[in-house]
Symmetry: C2
């Protein structure tokens, strides 16, 4: 839903949610924690601090319901979804998107995307 002219300022300039849902091994949908997302969340938190990115909150999230595309993450308020697997992927999202205001096209998920 759109913001209204009377809405207060954002509390976080960027709120970066990393799915850390875990399903049992062998579950047909898989899960983001099963694909290593907890380490990616920890790395993103530490690296964001190291880079001095202000106004950013890196946040764990329960199931974001796009398990087939995991590890998944979404950045608000812009609503851009990413699939990231490595520390290098996280670095690129932090530096290009969250510090630079750009997009990491090679890692972005499209709204109609059902598989990797």
């Amino acid at each position: 839903m759109p913001r209204l002219p009377t809405d207060p300022a954002l509390y976080f300039d960027a709120h970066f949610f990393v799915c850390t849902n875990r399903r049992p091994d062998g579950h047909p949908r898989g899960s983001c924690a099963g694909s290593g997302s907890e380490k990616l969340r920890d790395y993103a938190k530490a690296r964001a601090k190291e880079l001095g990115i202000r106004g950013l909150r890196v946040n764990g999230a329960a199931c974001l319901d796009r398990c087939e595309l995991g590890p998944t993450m979404v950045i608000y308020p812009e609503g851009i979804w990413y699939h990231a697997r490595t520390a290098e992927d996280i670095d690129e999202i932090l530096i290009t998107h969250l510090q630079g205001g750009g997009r990491v096209e090679r890692l972005m998920l499209q709204p109609d995307q059902k598989s990797l």
Copy 2:
């Protein structure tokens, strides 16, 4: 950060994150789960389905870092924060904000707010 003209459509029209972080009893900051947020999340999920609100995802979240104001929740992409304690509070957020596009002023948190 703002959306860019080339950004894809949103995957969820509204993404409603409910903090379900739990700290040990007696912790000075308290915690949202300690204030009953897990039941509120479950209620919000069931009630949103019952109301037939389309394009909405009710999502558990790890610590949103506004523990003193808990139970806290935030709706994106608009970035509006709420403090809710009861099923009636959740109903009002679902019906007025998420179904009607309005705001529940009595439950909204302001960016500079430090206490309830």
